[in-house]
């Protein structure tokens, strides 16, 4: 966990806290998430019981547009896309089908897509957003936190976005002032939600 700026496990039971420090370390390492996290504060109180994980991520890669992985050439009757990176092909096709209809989108080979439309603007096509990597990353992050938390804590609330995330879990109904508690935990890291 050296790469992480701030990493604390807060727990009234000393031994338990140390075990969870190791568990969090191993799980995040196994899920390849260490380099994504900048700060992480975990609070566990088995007496209530309550588990809170709050954290801040590093700057994440932005949204992938068509121009990032394909060359667009606009002609009179059609638009030809030459794909450079196949990784985004599936979401791209889905978007194109929805926008122009399957009958207009052709794929003569793996790396070429032909859209039969008239008078398209180059910029308009190039700027179509295809894939948001942060979405899946935050989902992975929340999944990893669920693996870290004690298993019986089935009542959960989670949040992610704007480089911050948190997961709250308990066996019982969450306390009413839970957002307040979460804010306090962010404050411990010198951040605000």
């Amino acid at each position: 966990m050296d790469a992480v700026e701030y990493f604390e496990v807060e727990c009234p039971e000393k031994a338990g806290g140390e075990y969870y420090q190791r568990i969090a370390d191993v799980v995040l390492l196994d899920h390849n998430l260490i380099r994504v996290i900048r700060k992480l504060h975990i609070f566990i109180d088995p007496r209530i019981p309550l588990f809170i994980a709050t954290g801040v991520t590093r700057k994440l890669p932005g949204i992938v547009h068509i121009r990032d992985f394909a060359d667009v050439s606009v002609q009179e009757q059609k638009v030809i896309l030459s794909i450079g990176d196949e990784a985004y092909l599936a979401p791209l096709l889905k978007i194109l089908w929805e926008k122009y209809g399957k009958e207009r989108v052709e794929q003569p080979d793996r790396f070429t897509i032909v859209i039969r439309i008239e008078g398209a603007e180059l910029k308009e096509i190039e700027d179509v957003p295809v894939y948001d990597p942060t979405e899946s990353l935050y989902k992975d992050l929340i999944y990893a936190l669920q693996v870290i938390q004690p298993e019986g804590f089935k009542v959960r609330r989670q949040y992610y976005g704007k480089e911050k995330f948190y997961l709250v879990a308990s066996e019982n109904t969450l306390p009413e002032n839970i957002e307040e508690i979460v804010r306090e935990k962010f404050a411990l890291m010198g951040e605000s939600l």
């Binding site: 031994a15 338990g16 075990y19 969870y20 568990i23 019981p49 004690p150 298993e151 089935k154």
Partner: protein, 312 residues
């Protein structure tokens, strides 16, 4: 004869001679693994003949190691079969005990997780009670262990060894009434046990189990079963041909005072009951044959000498 549990490790070459020797000396082979060029035999052999076997095995580069868990069936009870507990620590512990000769079964509880919501259902309870000993793998927090363990142990009659994150003294303090064995510092973790201190912890689990089982053995020796379970296994192996068609690693699992026979109860219970052991004594006379709650297996519980007045 005083039979002691041992493991023999050696090459495939001429290992049948060792098997014949053990049987000729009046010992029993409980399980045989052949792994490529290597053979591992788990056996009960007469104590005074161990040196003889070692001498004969020496030219074959075989070695004989005492392994006190041979001939026991142990339940490793894990709180759930989710990623939180598998494969570490549950499999690590189960596998380590297995290497020391025990037959282990992992019992994953349906609702064992949580502090307030932990439960044990009747099927789980009965399955655990079919074993010689139950190892409970609990979590890292003493608050949780203190609250949930009384629920999990309800109705369990076999000796219990507890493994948990808090140290041994804490476990002893919070568990009331006491159980037979405690191992601290081995709770929930998510990495593979391969460092020497972690392996020492696993050794500690084995030592604790051995200590508890040795106590059990002493108790049993005061009123021994009417027939040795290993001998009864031999009788079944000889007289019931269908047992050789069972594909389980141990078609007959030897326990300290009984056997688990992996044949369907409805068809074979009667056949087993009428098997003759020696001098007209049948299995039905000296043992209870009951359906196991594990699949449709048969459980044979051998009655003690004081009940039957027969010793074969």
């Amino acid at each position: 004869v005083n039979l002691v549990p041992v493991t023999y490790k050696g090459g495939v070459y001429r290992h049948d001679e060792i098997m014949d020797l053990i049987e000729d000396l009046g010992g029993y082979i409980i399980q045989k693994h052949v792994l490529a060029q290597e053979v591992v035999l788990q056996a009960l052999v007469p104590k005074e003949d161990i040196d003889l076997i070692a001498t004969i095995a020496k030219p074959l580069t075989g070695e004989i190691i005492p392994s006190p868990l041979v001939g026991t069936e142990i339940a490793v009870v894990t709180m759930s079969l989710e990623i939180h507990h598998l494969p570490h620590a549950s499999c690590d512990v189960a596998e380590y005990i297995r290497r020391n000769g025990a037959k282990t079964n992992m019992v994953g509880l349906a609702r064992g997780f949580g502090k307030r919501i932990a439960q044990l259902n009747d099927e789980e309870r009965d399955v655990i009670n079919e074993h010689d000993l139950a190892v409970f793998l609990l979590g890292d927090f003493e608050t949780c262990i203190q609250q949930k363990f009384p629920v999990l142990r309800r109705g369990i009659t076999v000796p219990i060894v507890i493994c948990g994150g808090p140290d041994k003294e804490t476990l002893q303090r919070i568990i009331d009434p006491p159980v037979e064995g405690y191992v601290g510092g081995i709770g929930r973790f998510m990495h593979r046990t391969k460092e020497s201190e972690e392996l020492e912890k696993l050794d500690e689990v084995v030592t604790e189990i051995t200590r508890v089982l040795d106590g059990q053995r002493e108790e049993i020796a005061k009123d021994p079963p009417s027939v040795s379970p290993a001998r009864l296994m031999d009788v079944i192996n000889e007289q019931v041909d269908e047992i050789h068609e069972v594909l389980s690693p141990t078609p007959i699992t030897v326990q300290m005072t009984g056997l688990r026979v992996k044949l369907p109860y409805d068809t074979y219970a009667r056949i087993l009951k009428n098997l003759a052991i020696e001098g007209g004594v049948t299995v039905g006379e000296i043992a209870d044959i009951v359906p196991s709650r594990m699949r449709d297996y048969i459980l044979i519980r051998i009655k003690p000498f004081s009940e039957t007045n027969i010793m074969v």
